[in-house]
Each structure stands twice: as C-alpha cells, then as structure tokens.
Point group: C2
Chain length 319, copies 2
Amino acid sequence: MSNIKDIAKIAGVSVTTVSRVLNNERYVSDEKRNAVLRAIEITKYQRNLNAVNLSKGKTHLIGVVVPYSNHPYFGLLIEGISIEAIKKNYKLVLFQTDYQKERELEALEMLKHKQIDSLIICSRICSLEVVEAYLEYGPVILCEDTRNTRISSTFVDHYKSFTIALEYIYKKGHRKIGYCIGRSSGTNSLQRNLAYKDFLHKYNLPYHDEQIIKKCSYFEDGERIVNTLIESKNRPTALLVTSDQVAAGILTCCNEKGIVIPEDLAIISFDNQPIAKYMKLTTVEMPIKEMGQKLLHQALLNEQSQTEMSVKLIERQTV
Amino acid sequence: MSNIKDIAKIAGVSVTTVSRVLNNERYVSDEKRNAVLRAIEITKYQRNLNAVNLSKGKTHLIGVVVPYSNHPYFGLLIEGISIEAIKKNYKLVLFQTDYQKERELEALEMLKHKQIDSLIICSRICSLEVVEAYLEYGPVILCEDTRNTRISSTFVDHYKSFTIALEYIYKKGHRKIGYCIGRSSGTNSLQRNLAYKDFLHKYNLPYHDEQIIKKCSYFEDGERIVNTLIESKNRPTALLVTSDQVAAGILTCCNEKGIVIPEDLAIISFDNQPIAKYMKLTTVEMPIKEMGQKLLHQALLNEQSQTEMSVKLIERQTV
DNA sequence: CTGTTAGCGCGTTCAC
DNA sequence: GTGAACGCGCTAACAG
C-alpha cells in the first residue's frame, strides 16, 4: 500500500502539497492538484486513518453505550444515531454494558485515551459526578434530563409525559391506577415515580406500593405482570406501561386469560413503536429515532446543550 | 497528558524499557520495572492507542455489518458478538447498511484502510466475489454457508432446518404448506426455497407461488400476512415463519379474526427467542447468541473456518 | 537485560 | 503557492 510520500514522488510534488489536496485546501495550483489526483488514481492510494488520527488527535469514532442491544427501544435509538453518523461520516463504537459499572467506565476511559471523540450514554449506571469528571476529555451526551448539570443531553420530560398519561386515564374515570417500569432506579424512572406520587396526591388517591410493577422490559414479561395483577388484592383498573412491547405482552396474556381490554383493565403505554399501532395500543409517542439523531449532533458539537423532546398522546383502543 | 518519553525520563530508563513493561514483556529487571510502574502511577499516564495502532498496524476494532439494529434477530446476534468482544478486549464498530451496497462497501473499505482489524457481515448484499476480494486486507466473516468459498463463516444449514420443519408439519398431516420470509434473495433464503421445492417434489405436492409470502420481518407484518392468507384461493393449512416475531404477529392477528391455531392454521417458526416460549410457538431453535460469539472468535483468527451450528425443534402448541 | 534509533503515515509550522 | 523539516506517541529491530 502506498503512502503520502509515494504520491508526492509520483506527482512530482512535496508531501505537503499532497496533504493539501487530500484535505481540500486552497492555495494549490490546478496543475499540481491534478498531478496529485492522477497519482492517487493510479496507485489507488488510501490514506491511513490511524496516522491521521494520531496526527490530529481525532478518531471520527463515537462511542455509544447501551445496556442491551437486543431491545427495541435501544435498537431504535441506535438506529437514529447511526443514520446521522453515516451522514456525517462518523462511525460508532458500541458498548453493551448490561448495566455493569466497569463497562461504562471502560467506555469513558476510551474517551480519555482519545480512542473515541465523544460518548453517547443511552442509559447510565455511573453517577452524574463520575460522568461529569470525564467532560474534560470530550463531549459526553446523556439521554435524561440534565438541566441541573454541565452535561449535554437529549431527553423527554418523563414527569410531564407520565402526567399526561395519568390525567388522561383519570378523565376516563379510573381511580386505581398502577404502572409497570423497567429499571426503577434511573433518573427517568424517578421522574415518573414523582409524577405518579404528585398525581395521587393531587386527587387525594391512596398510594399502594404493589401497584408499581418493576423489571418490565420485554414482551414476555407480560405474563408475570398479569399474574401479579390477578393476585393483587388492590387490583388497579388501569395500567401505565413504559414500553409498547411490554404492553403488547400484557395484552396477549389478558386475551388468553379472558381479561377484557379496556373494560377489565385499561392500558396506556409509551413509545408508539410499530407494534403499538398493530395492537391498537393507546400510547404516548416518543420520538426515539429523532432523539438518536439529535444525540449524534450534540456529540459532534463542543457546546453544552440540553434538548427536550416533546411527546404526543395517541388515542387508540386500550383505554 | 504525559507520554512514554516523560515516563522514561522520570523512571530514569529508556523508552524501550517503558514500552516493555507496558507490553508485559520479560527481560526487564524488577528494579527498573518498578521504577517505571511508579512513574506511571504518579503521572497517571495513559498510553495513546492511536499511536499504538499506527505503529502496530492494528486497531483492536472489529466491524459489524447489519441491515438494521432495530430487529430482534440482529439485536441478539450483536449481543453475542459483543459479549465475546468484551472478553477479548475488542471493541465493535457498527455499520447499519439498510441493505444499501455502498454502506457495506464503506465497511469493507474501512478494513482496507486498516481502521478495523476484521469485519463481520451479518447479512450481506454485495456479491461473494466482492467480499472475497477484501480478504487480503483482513478477516471477513459471514453468517451464511460459504463452504464453497475461501470465506470464513458461522451459519446454520437452512436447507436442513427448513426440511426438519417441513417434515414435521407433513407428519402432522398437512399437505398445503406455505412459508413467510424476510428478504427473499439472500443465500439463506435461497437455501430455504430449495428445501421447500425439494420437499414438495418428494411428496409430489403442487407448488403455488402465492404460498410464499415475502417481506416478513417484523411483528406488525402479521396482519398483512393473515390478510394475504384469507384472500388466497389456495389457502395453506400450515405456515413456516422464519422469525418468531412475525409468527407472534400472525398469532395475534388470527386471534382477533377468530382464526384458530393450530386447527385452522398451523404455525411453526424459527429462532426460539423468548417471545416464542411466551406465545407457545412451536419453533426451530437457532443458537443466535452462540453464533455471535463464534463469529467474533473467527474474526480474531487468521485462518479460514466454516462452522455449522445445529438447530433443534421445540414442540409447543401452534402445530 | 538495556538503550539507540529508525520508522509508522500524516499534519503543520515557517521560511521561501 | 510551495516544500523542508519536525512532531504526534509508540514499537521494533539492532547493537551492546
């Protein structure tokens, strides 16, 4: 494989000139530029990006941290990030953490070592302080409300969106409302819990811990949820479900057990992925793909910015 | 940030010695080794991996090409690859091609430019010849039967697995059997089609083109499939479905329309993802995650190897 | 065991 | 407009 020196020799110019045409700089005569272009053509020269990286201290690589890639929410988010990365000629380095802190730190360390230019953490396990400490090495973008920090982010206000769903359910006459959530400890989950409590308080409704069902992430969690519901002595008449997949799983199970939706149980989910339309789920739409795209844009910038994305209630047939 | 020279100076040794302890080589006296270690400690030295890469001509990065990341099959495959990558201290660069040839070529070109050490193509669009041409730049691993080429791969014999399903269905008394498939042009799909034709021929059954339903990849494709079936004048009594997700979608739609499974329509799917158990799908289990792990191992080796993975019929309640 | 030195391939002053 | 020369940080002969 030929290098910049070879090209210079063949074209009868200096390496500097070659570098200039490579980087599309002005101040190169058409004559020499063409000579270089021709040399590149005949040698099928390709520049060594490692060398470029070393020289420039940049990699054109962006890290993406997700807990699981085998999950529709993160799959779509990655898709959004990926679409923009392609446009901007950046590549993605995927980190699958399984919510293990060391894995997330590994990604952060790669930023520090200049192996990636920026890092997008789609779901975080390290503390905000830890993340913030890495900001000096490059952009770190989060997917949660970071408006009280120096960290950039794209997020939806889960307090708001949860409230929208709750109020809607309330207007439909429900007074015993529960919810299903994936990981219960993240910022987003805490926001939702707060919205829930505030809502109950506002309408003077009782809080029952058992009406919050945790570890609900996949379609197949539906059965456990329905069983929990059935055994519950304080069975809710409506359920907020933080993912369409899980809601679809619940629906399927209810169907099998003869629980009629929405008469016996109203369901409102979140995301509005294709499955939601298919299952006729009433859902709160989240612009996941767009969030991914926005995240990438932020990763490329070097300024702090926090972008809230808005949600939209889609009425279908499960409430 | 300090570099290897600084460490050498502080430790009072040469850069080579530093390099040696960095790379855990023998032939360094404990005395000097400790001095170096101490210097690293106090300066919090981190080596610049770009420089290592340039010098060694390696990146510790492995490219992974998928059409979509927002798809359970590829999600799980990526998960498998990722698990092993972490163990071996390799990182993944994700390429989402959307089945566009240029995107796949971009990944191949990155291999050529030494930006990645190897490339795993989970689903291919370029011709085998094109792929083979890149073999000189590094390992390229495929996810299909490549036993008549020089390309390494991990795959399941789809001819075999399709035949298993067909024979099983046949034994259950079905004579009008159709199938649903995603992309119809891949090697894997062609193998399945061949198995299908050979099966029909063996039992002297007629071939109806309309019994092959294409572009079936997602849960929500279920409705279109069921509608196609209903309108079909030669409606099959059994259906092979190349993904659990799609089968689950069909099931859901049938349920709604009062089509009883398996009496009105028998369904056998492939993969045995969690949703299959949940929906009580009879399915042909594919070791997707294990395939991912094996793929990564092959990507690290420099020898040609083709590994067939075996499948297993899981009897549940849809046949 | 240890150090000197020459690359790896490219970007970038800074004179001309 | 152009090019010589140095720097990026590290590895790998080679000599001792």
